[in-house]
């Protein structure tokens, strides 16, 4: 039986309570009659033989690109860059797509007699990955072959000797990327496309870039003009990356792009109820929900966080395509929409969402308040094509504990951003004008980024900019069950219950509002008609 597409449920009297994520907890909420709940499509069938599919993609590239073996020759410099810890979410069960792809690329390179091969984690301004995380993504064989010899490195956007400035785009944007990657005879980029925003020229132009380059598209103005990030053709973020990608290509950098799609089989069997629609929960699902919920209620938050972050997702590869960047990415994006797209008729006054424990920037870490805002307003709000799910001036209600808690190793500059910057202003433009440069050039943050496992000093700004479109669009943001102090620092309103939040929302959108609940994860993308 083929997987069912996404579905928009109209809530009526017989509809059971709807599951909301609430960090490392869940809430069952009874939504008002007439509300809509958007469910993700069921997971597509995975490739039965990913290895064969990968080999086929490498030998039959898309667009103006020769098969990979034809690009490999003895004496060449080959660099393989790959996505970092931010993808996929949650981290997938072994073997990871990156391992499967890179093993085959390395086999072909060995067959061609290529011996100058380096692997680079394309982490941009994200934190460096740990050995365990790298082993998980690449497999022990690759890690042991490359890391001990210094041939597996993590992109360092603050090492001038490891960067090269390729020039300016026609819009005057600096393009400065990893030197080894730029000066290689061939740059193979291995991507995992979780959402439509990932991949394409963004892989190299962002993943291997420096702050000097990134600041041209990671800013409030660009974000406000990306409607949405998931729709490449209406995204200024992508337009900038595409201009940079063309300049990179014109500079003589040959990129062989490999992109993989995943299905939405996101949670292991013990959390099977998370994959289902509530009215279809079996007795086993109901017991599973009750058991998990009760257990979590008795579990200290730190332990609950550890438990959730130990989850490895069973999602599997559904497609792999390789070749020239734009040709590859067009197919990949189409595949993403096939898996995640749900047609939704019209906008809503109130958009509700339950935020889970994880975002791209807190794998094995804490979803701090800034990341809560980013996950809700940066990611979930932008999971649309056409128009935002919520109407202009509408209300977004998010459910999350939003504790005033930070991981000082991963997010040191977030703490200062939250304490110092957001206490002064929450306006993304003012934030950028007043504080960005000092955080971006702070030597302590740079030191921690380069030598520890810290996100770059400027990263919390990017997270806040990520919210800029939503902040400009909506009339109010309410967080249910959040720490009021932290919620207020974000500039949002705090509510104890969803009922309270809905009452508060009526002050903004008027009586009898329409309500839509984004039932994610599993991830879905709304094609708002």
């Amino acid at each position: 039986m083929s997987p069912r597409p996404g579905f928009v449920l109209d809530v009526d009297r017989s509809t059971p309570p709807t599951l909301f994520w609430h960090g490392e907890r869940f809430r069952l909420e009874r939504l008002p009659e007439g509300s809509r709940v958007i469910y993700a499509p069921e997971p597509l069938d995975p490739l039965t033989d990913p290895s064969t599919a990968i080999r086929h993609a490498l030998l039959n590239p898309l667009g103006d690109r020769e098969p990979l073996p034809a690009l490999l020759f003895p004496g060449m410099r080959l660099t393989i860059a790959f996505d970092d810890i931010s993808l996929p979410l949650p981290p997938m069960e072994r073997p990871d797509n990156r391992q499967l792809v890179i093993e085959q690329v390395l086999d072909l390179a060995a067959e061609a007699g290529v011996d100058d091969v380096e692997l680079i984690v394309a982490l941009a301004l994200h934190r460096r990955m740990t050995e365990a995380e790298l082993r998980h993504a690449l497999g022990d064989r690759i890690y042991d072959a490359f890391a001990p010899n210094g041939l597996l490195t993590q992109h360092d956007a603050e090492d001038p000797s490891a960067l090269v400035h390729l020039g300016l785009t026609d819009q005057g944007e600096d393009v400065e990327i990893n030197k080894r990657a730029a000066e290689s005879d061939l740059l193979v980029y291995v991507n995992i496309n979780l959402v439509a925003m990932d991949g394409g020229h963004k892989s190299v132009a962002t993943g291997l870039a420096s702050y000097k380059s990134l600041r041209h598209h990671h800013n409030p103005q660009t974000m406000q003009h990306s409607r949405s990030f998931m729709d490449q053709h209406r995204s200024e973020l992508h337009s900038s990356n595409w201009r940079m990608g063309k300049l990179i290509a014109d500079s003589g950098v040959t990129i062989f792009q490999i992109e993989t799609n995943l299905n939405t089989n996101t949670f292991p069997s013990q959390f099977g109820f998370l994959q289902k629609r509530e009215w279809e929960w079996s007795a086993k699902d109901r017991l599973g929900y009750l058991g998990v919920s009760k257990a979590l209620d008795r579990t200290p938050p730190k332990l609950a966080r550890q438990i959730f972050h130990s989850i490895k997702a069973p999602h599997r590869m559904t497609a792999v395509q390789a070749g020239e960047v734009e040709a590859v990415h067009a197919v990949t994006t189409e595949n993403v929409w096939k898996q995640q797209g749900v047609v939704v008729e019209g906008q809503t006054d109130i958009l509700t969402m339950g935020l889970p424990y994880i975002s791209p920037y807190n794998v094995n870490s804490i979803l701090n308040p800034i990341l809560v805002a980013c996950l809700g307003l940066g990611y979930f709000f932008n999971l649309y094509r056409g128009k935002p799910l919520v109407r202009e001036g509408g209300v977004v209600i998010m459910s999350h504990p939003t504790a005033w808690e930070f991981n000082p190793v991963h997010h040191p500059s977030y703490i200062d951003f939250f304490e110092q910057v957001l206490s002064e202003t929450t306006d993304p433009i003012e934030v950028a004008k007043g504080y960005e440069e000092s955080f971006a050039t702070d030597p302590w943050y740079i030191h921690l980024y380069r030598t520890g496992h810290a996100y770059h000093g400027v990263h919390p700004f990017y997270m806040w900019y990520w919210c800029a479109h939503a902040l400009q669009h909506v009339g109010a943001v309410i967080i249910v069950g959040g720490d009021p102090a932290a919620v207020h620092r974000l500039g949002f309103r705090a509510a104890s219950t969803l009922t309270d939040a809905l009452e508060m929302a009526k002050d903004v959108v008027g009586p009898s509002p329409t309500l839509t609940h984004l039932h994610a994860p599993p991830i879905l993308m709304a094609d708002v008609q």
């Binding site: 200062d416 304490e419 302590w444 030191h447």
Partner: protein, 411 residues
């Protein structure tokens, strides 16, 4: 006439100390402080005048004394029994002559500079400190014609501010209060003078990063002194670590550049100074840190966020502290005290003025009278002292005795 009298009574002293474990000021009712009928103090000699207090503040040093936490260092420069209260505004009942030799008619409002140096003690010649106007550093605090006492409010012969019987003040201690000042303005002149003395003695230079740790009366007065006296001629960035939200609001209102809770202050200083962090300490740090708390924790924090060869100024009165001084040695930190007042030159070119005179300017400019949050009559001294001991938690800054109307109620 009534006065709160502090007597040497070891059992009561011990009881007070035990009670203070549950909170500063909690032992006022069982400690050595008692409300007694007293006679006005005798005039010790010529150039002494009677002052009837109208408002008298409760200071951190008073609380430390009442709590039995005061250092034994002070034992020989205090005489018992004494009436506390050295932050005083009152009325000269019979008139007098002020520190500058100006005659003041009866009924004049005046504040006292409470240090009992060589002049009040009729010691001639004056010690070098008093001769240079720095009478806070007087070495003769237990000598001369007066009983030992570093200040009015700690001396058996002078009386103190916590009294309706009045106190006696030497002409060198007297400053007429401008008509534009309320009693609340006047009563904070003394702590403001301490802050002015600390701020101007800290050798702040243009472009310095200055951190103030603690935002009780002294901390806020230090902020005001920095803003009003130092920063106009010596641009500097002022950061404040304030525990309570009302303190943070006041610090911002006074003109501090960055105001954060104390636990966030090291991070704010690190950001401002562009420092790195090594083993929990900043590699650089603030040029000057004012410790307006005086605890082991605050001193440790101050040393962790001052730059090498920077200066930590102890403004809050410390007691016996257990502190690791390795960073002080290793980073060549200057640890300096800032006690009382004397004469000040805001800039090298400016003429020297009495600290109290400068403090009056600061009080007026910053409207520091608003720091007086609650007043009590003497007979409710237990509540008053408890309130002062918990001022921060209870949303207050300065708590004072209101002696204008014995039936007064806290505001």
């Amino acid at each position: 006439m009534k006065a709160l009298v502090f007597e040497r009574n070891l059992p009561r002293f011990a009881a007070s100390r035990v009670a203070s474990v549950f909170g500063s000021g909690r032992g006022a009712g069982i400690g050595p402080l008692q409300l007694l009928d007293v006679d006005p103090p005798e005039l010790p000699g010529e150039a002494w005048y009677r002052l009837r207090p109208t408002l008298s503040g409760i200071c951190g040093s008073d609380l430390a004394t009442l709590d039995g936490r005061s250092s034994r260092y002070f034992e020989d420069i205090v005489s018992f029994p004494f009436v506390p209260g050295h932050e005083v505004v009152g009325i000269l009942e019979d008139g007098g002559v002020d520190h500058a030799g100006t005659s003041l008619p009866a009924g004049t409002r005046a504040v006292i500079e409470p240090v009992l140096g060589c002049a009040p003690r009729h010691i001639e010649p004056h010690c070098p400190a008093c001769a240079s106007g720095q009478n806070g550093l007087c070495g003769n605090l237990a000598l001369g014609d007066l009983a030992p006492g570093l200040q009015t409010g700690f001396c058996a012969d002078t009386g103190g501010g916590w009294s309706t019987a009045g106190l006696v003040a030497h002409s060198g201690q007297l400053y007429a209060v401008p008509d534009s000042f309320s009693d609340e303005d006047a009563v904070v002149i003394e702590p403001t003078a301490c802050a002015v003395h600390a701020a101007l003695g800290a050798s702040i230079t243009a472009g310095d990063t200055v951190a103030v740790l603690g935002a009780g009366t002294l901390g806020l007065a230090t902020v005001a002194a920095l803003v009003e006296v130092v920063r106009p001629t010596t641009p500097c960035v002022i950061l404040v670590g304030a525990k309570h939200s009302h303190q943070r609001d006041l610090a911002e209102k006074l003109g501090a550049d960055i105001v954060v809770p104390p636990d966030q202050l090291p991070r704010a200083v690190r950001r401002e100074s562009g420092s790195l962090v090594l083993a929990g300490r900043l590699t650089g740090g603030a040029d000057v840190v004012f410790d307006c708390v005086g605890s082991a924790e605050s001193l440790t924090q101050a040393m962790a966020m001052v730059r090498p060869r920077g200066r930590v100024v102890l403004v809050g009165m410390p007691g016996k502290l257990h502190v690791d001084l390795a960073p002080l040695w290793h980073r060549e930190i200057q640890l300096v005290g800032a006690y009382a007042y004397g004469v000040e030159s805001p800039t090298p070119a400016a003429p020297a003025r009495r600290t109290f005179a400068v403090a009056m300017d600061v009080v007026a400019a910053a409207a520091l009278g608003s720091l007086v949050s609650a007043t009590y009559p003497l007979d409710r001294y237990e509540e008053a002292v408890a309130h002062a001991g918990a001022a921060g938690r209870r949303g207050a800054v300065k708590v004072a005795f209101d002696l204008r109307n014995r039936k007064g109620r806290p505001r």
